[in-house]
Structures are given as structure tokens and as C-alpha cells.
Symmetry: C2
Subunit: 399 residues, 2 copies
């Protein structure tokens, strides 16, 4: 988040109103960094308080608590805030901070809801009780206490330390980082050269089913020159990434039904069709061994990359081999293409499988059903409804 604060502070300064003396970006970064080191404790406390509010989109009371809390956070910075309501869900939190004489307006998008959680899977800690580790879990990080506030703390947070909580990275930190950047500029008396608007969504992880409708209803608020989405990955090398587009995503749940009730596998196996096997067969028929989707026409609508994009991709650092080692991947999919190229293509991914029970809970049954959840990423040129119909049509054709 440290880099994020400085980056966001610079993004707020791309051009200055005439007559103002423009501080050089390097100076701004230095000033903001100084502010951050003096205020780490306060910034981290704000983040942790925010992370402690459970934020699953379908958990109506809590997601609305997040929005109310956000509104306070924005208004404390003098940002004019409106809650654009969505029935039963968290509202879109809209904020506006005008700068005298600014000629341009930037909208920053982020979301305050998080992915669904299985608390039982958080074996060391809990999703909504933020804790600090002295490194990432993958690097063997252990829990450590938060540093105690005091004069000696300046810059006391080590670069390897990590906060663990649902949405600690995706996507509450960018919101806190933006507000810290605003605080820093103000403290260092560096004027904002832009009008700033924010759109903070409360159901991105649920597929943003109401975002378009809600924004269209409040179109009058949304005039701007540029929209920045603060919800993308850093490069695996740790370097910040700027994306110039986003893939779309559709989620698909498949349930294969077997016998009306689970049957004893000794008494009915070989005769009763097994839905777990049928589902396996269906999924296996969707992709080849290189991960290429076999559904007819799956890649037909893709707008090919232009020369500029191809050059940008080629210029990206290639650390695929490091990643393979780090993630324990013997051979990636994609027939030799680089990760950066592959995520420019449409995808079809199995997010999860479930049928009856496994391991020590396994029962000797022909299950009554088998479920899979898939997600399909869409690229430029593709229509989500058409894609869905393509996949559904394929499933139907397999019987």
C-alpha cells in the first residue's frame, strides 16, 4: 500500500491549473512518503477498522454498515458524498471533491465488498479480524503484534510485513490509500490539480448486477475525463501495473442431477448413472490439454491485439519461470505462450466442484447430484449473453 499512496498522489497531479507553480513529481513522492512514515500508525488503524466490518455483498446489514463507515471516512476529508441506493445491497458510494480552477476530472473506482469467505478455512486468524504478519504466509510469515504508537515508530512498518483480512488487498486498501494520499497532499500543502470523483461499489464480487443501472440513474453526477479502476493486480515482480482495459467475467453454475436420492454404490453402482462422473465428462470435453476451449466459436469474436498492445506485452518483464517455481507448476497451460499473453485471451475456468463427500467423510454412494462453478473471462469484442448462450448450447449438445 505504501507505493499505492505515492502513486495515487502523483495521479492526482497530472496537470496543474495555469498560474500555479507545479511541484515536480519526484518532490511530491518525497513529501508524500515523509507524510506516510510519520502517520503509518494512523493509516493502518483506519485500514484495520474498515477491514473489521464484514463485507460479503449478500450480507445486507453488514455491507450497509461498510457504506455508512465509508461515508464518514470520505466526509472527514471534505468529500461531498452520496449513497446511491440498491435495494437489499450495499449502495454505490459516490464522492466528489472539486478543486478551484481544475480543468479535468478523474473518477476513481474501487469496491468495498469482498469475496465470499469460509471462516473454517482461516486456520490461523479470522476473515474480519485483521492481523499483521512479518511476511506473506507463502514466505513463512508469522503473526506479530501491531507496533505500538509512539515517537519511535516513524517508518516502523517493514516492507515485508503483511496485513491479513478479507479484502485487505482486494479491494479496501486502495480506498484507504487514496484517502491517505489526499491527507498527505493537504498536510504538505500541495494543491490538487484535478477534480476527483469516486465510485465505490458494494457488490463487485457478486458480479456487479446493479452497477450499470445505478450509474445510469445518476449519470448527471458522473461527468469526467478519465476513469481509473483501482482493482487490478500488481505485476508478480512487485512492480505497479497500469492496465488500459478490463476483461469481463461471467459466472456459470452447473448442476448434474443423478438418481433422485443418493444410492448405495454396492446395490446400484454399474446401473445408476453417476452425476459426478457425468460432470467430469462434461468438463473434460470443454477444453483440450493445452487449456484451449473446445466449444465451437469460442474465440470467434475476439478483437485481435494491435501492434501497440503487442509491443507493450513484449516489453513486459518475463518472470514466468520464477512464477512456475514459486507456485509449484510443472508445466503451464497455453502451449508455450507467456502468462501476459494468455490473460489477453478469453478463458473458461473451473472455480470449484462439489458432489457428496470425500476423504474421511466419503460415503459409499452414487451421489444424487454434482455441482461445478465456472467463470469465463471475456475480452474486447465479446458479448456476455452470446458467450453464455455458446456455453449453455455446448452443455445441451453433450446431453
Amino acid at each position: 500500500m505504501k507505493k499505492a499512496i505515492a502513486t495515487l498522489a502523483v495521479l492526482l497531479l497530472p496537470c496543474l491549473a495555469a498560474g500555479q507553480k507545479a511541484p515536480a513529481p519526484a518532490q511530491v513522492v518525497q513529501a508524500v512518503r515523509a507524510y506516510r512514515m510519520e502517520n503509518e500508525d494512523r493509516i493502518m488503524r483506519e485500514l484495520c477498522e474498515f477491514l473489521a466490518i464484514p463485507n460479503i455483498a449478500s450480507d445486507t446489514p453488514n455491507i450497509q454498515k461498510n457504506a455508512a463507515h465509508l461515508m464518514e471516512m470520505l466526509e472527514a476529508r471534505g468529500i461531498e458524498t452520496h449513497l446511491l441506493p440498491i435495494t437489499g445491497r450495499g449502495p454505490v458510494v459516490f464522492g466528489k471533491l472539486l478543486s478551484p480552477e481544475a480543468k479535468h476530472t478523474v473518477i476513481l473506482y474501487a469496491h468495498y465488498d469482498g469475496q465470499p469467505v469460509d471462516p473454517a478455512a482461516w486456520t490461523d486468524g479470522a476473515p474480519f479480524e485483521p492481523l499483521l504478519r512479518n511476511a506473506a504466509i507463502e514466505a513463512g510469515g508469522k503473526r506479530i503484534p501491531f507496533p505500538v504508537n509512539g515517537a519511535g515508530l516513524r517508518g516502523g512498518y517493514n516492507d515485508d510485513w503483511r496485513i491479513y483480512a478479507r479484502s485487505a488487498s482486494d479491494d479496501k486498501s486502495p480506498i484507504v490509500a487514496l484517502l491517505a494520499a489526499l491527507d498527505a497532499l493537504r498536510a504538505k500543502e500541495i494543491p490538487l490539480a484535478l477534480n476527483l470523483k469516486v465510485i465505490l461499489e458494494g457488490e463487485e464480487e457478486a458480479g456487479s448486477p446493479n452497477l450499470q443501472r445505478t450509474l445510469e440513474l445518476h449519470k448527471n453526477l458522473l461527468g469526467a475525463d478519465l476513469l481509473i479502476t483501482a482493482d487490478g493486480p500488481v505485476h508478480q515482480s512487485g512492480r505497479p501495473l497500469v492496465f488500459f482495459g478490463n476483461r469481463g467475467d461471467i459466472g456459470i453454475d452447473i448442476t448434474v442431477y443423478g438418481p433422485l436420492r443418493a444410492l448405495h454404490s454396492g446395490h446400484y453402482g454399474n446401473w445408476a448413472p453417476n452425476p459426478a462422473m457425468e460432470l467430469s465428462r462434461l468438463l473434460a470435453s470443454m477444453k483440450d490439454e493445452d487449456g484451449r476451449v473446445l466449444i465451437a466459436g469460442y474465440y470467434d469474436d475476439v478483437t485481435p491485439l494491435g501492434e501497440v498492445e503487442k509491443k507493450a506485452l513484449a516489453a513486459m518483464p518475463d518472470n514466468d519461470a520464477d512464477l512456475e517455481r514459486e507456485l509449484g507448476i510443472a508445466k503451464p497451460e497455453g502451449a508455450g505462450k507467456k502468462l501476459a499473453e494468455l490473460i489477453m485471451e478469453p478463458s473458461l475456468n473451473v472455480c470449484g466442484l462439489r458432489s457428496a463427500y470425500v476423504g474421511s467423510q466419503a460415503q459409499n454412494v452414487v451421489p444424487d447430484k454434482a455441482e461445478a462453478s465456472l467463470d469465463a473471462r471475456l475480452v474486447r469484442g465479446e458479448d456476455p449473453q452470446k458467450k453464455f448462450d455458446q456455453i449453455a448450447g455446448f452443455i445441451r449438445s453433450q446431453g
Copy 2:
């Protein structure tokens, strides 16, 4: 269980010691039925008390409680009882009831442990709180109170009523039915013509890992002319079935590992191999669409059925079409063979699948692993270790 009591009572009378007047089987059935109708309340109470003791094989304290309770039940009938211990598990409960002048000895096998349970899946009731329904759940059965004991109760239990609890059918009822049959014969002063032994196992559903060793250790107790296993299905028509052999069963857990941690499907999909997809591909490669196993040599060691067996199979009632309707099966596996024939063959069944999360809990990830549990039924002529090696070899050959 009503039929079971009469059937078991008759089984105890296949031949009589010389000099005794043999009551005709029909008379015995009548006498036992009369006893049962007079004592339904007592018999059901004994069953329900037994069902209320949790009986998962790995739940050491409770499974041992079952054994202690069983010992009391047997000793109350004057059966000499020994607990043949298994460390950390429920003992084999061995019982012996000698009849003066009996020339033959029958061993009756049953098991007092049950399949693993997921209490959350018992949406109306709980696994170890037996309850009564006025019909099977599939037939729309609703909970009803147990009839109150009294003079008017004689024969008060309706034939359609069902007890629901873990092991209510598999396999505690046969034990209670046997004891009720003994009580009935004694009450009606019909002498036992056989020596009776019982072997009651506490980890059948866990694969009987210690049964052979334990019985070999106590071989001296086990002399007998016939062993009857009271752990098979009734025919779907409701008619009792006598099996003249049992298939074996091996359980196999497969885990396919993907990246070392679950990855964001948008950032790594198309590149990181997906273990749920790999598992699907593996399972799909194991069987063809008719359910025939494609693993090389899978059927090679099967001892073919003889003429007698074929005739017996052909003479069995064929209600496959009814079953298909009842279970909602559009087309069974087995390329047109009957259920009764198909369960004479080796099988390979997917008992369950699990990988990350599905439905509303789904996360947009490439999962870190995918698991399946399989069970393979073995027939005469097959060796479990060889079968396991065959399956494991196939998995290895698929990479």
C-alpha cells in the same frame, strides 16, 4: 424389521436335535408374529435407545459406548459375550448361545457402526435422534410421534412407517431383530435347535481394517457350519433376499494438486493448470459412456457365473423399469443389462468430489487442489491389492 424378526427366527430352526418335536416353520412364524405384535413398543424402544448412541467408527468414545451397550443387550439374553479389543476403535463383540443337543452352529455377522454423517444435511431431524415417519421420505413421509405404550397398541405400528436415524437400517436393526427373535422363541417356548454365535463389528463402514486380524487372533471361538451376513439389501420389490456371496470393496482417495495456493482466475487462468479440470479429465478417462471401466485388464480376473447363478438371476423379479421411474433415471448404464446382472460385475464408482467452493460460495480462483473419493467393488476371483495397483497404475499412466 418385522419380516426380519420372523425370518431370523426361522433361520434359527433349520434342523432340530433328534427326539424333539419340530414345529412347522409356518407355526413358528405365526407364534413369532404374535409375540412381535404384543411387544412392538418394547422392541422399538430397544432399537431407538441403541440408535441414539453415535456410531461413527472413528469416534472412539462413542463407538466403544455402543459396544458396552451391545454387551448388556446380549447378556440380558443369557448370551456369553466377549469384547475382542481393537486399539482406538470399537471392539468386535462376540457372543455365543449354546443349545443342548444342537449339532450345528451358525454365526451371524452384523455391524454396529454407521456411515459418516454430515449433521447439517439432516434438515429435518438429527442423525442420532431416532424419529418416526408415517412413510418413507421419498413417499412424502411426515414426522409422527411414537405411539404411546398401552393395551390398545397391539400391532399399532403401520407397515409403511419408518424409523429415521443413522444405521436404522444399515446395520443396527438386524441386531435388534435377532434379539427380538430369540425373545420370541423363548416366550413361545420354542427351543433353539442350533448353537448361535454372533460377530458384531464396529468398523465395517471404515473398511473393516482390523476384522481379519482380530478374528484370526480368536479363531478358537469361531467354529461353525455356516456364517450369515445380516448386512445386505432387500430386493427393491420389498421381498427378502438371500445372497450367497459378497463383493469386496476398496476405497480410493485421489487428490490432484494445482498451484501451491489458489490463484485469482483472472490473473492466472489460461496459464495455471486447473486441478479440478485435471481431475475431471482423469475420471472421465476411466469409464466409457456405458459405465464400462477402461482400465486395462479391469475385468480379467473375474470368475464367470455358473449355470446355477445365471438361472437364479434370470428367475429374479425384474422391476428395473419401476426403479428407473422411482429414482428418476432416464437411461441406466450397462448397455441394456439388468441391475441384478450388473451388480455381479466389478464396479468403479465416484462417491464424491470436492474442490474449492461452488454456488453462492464460489470464489473466482484456480483451486489449489481437487479431490475425489472412489469405491471399487470386487467379485470372485479378484485380488484387492492387484485391483488397487491396476487403478493406481492407470492414474500414473495418465500423468
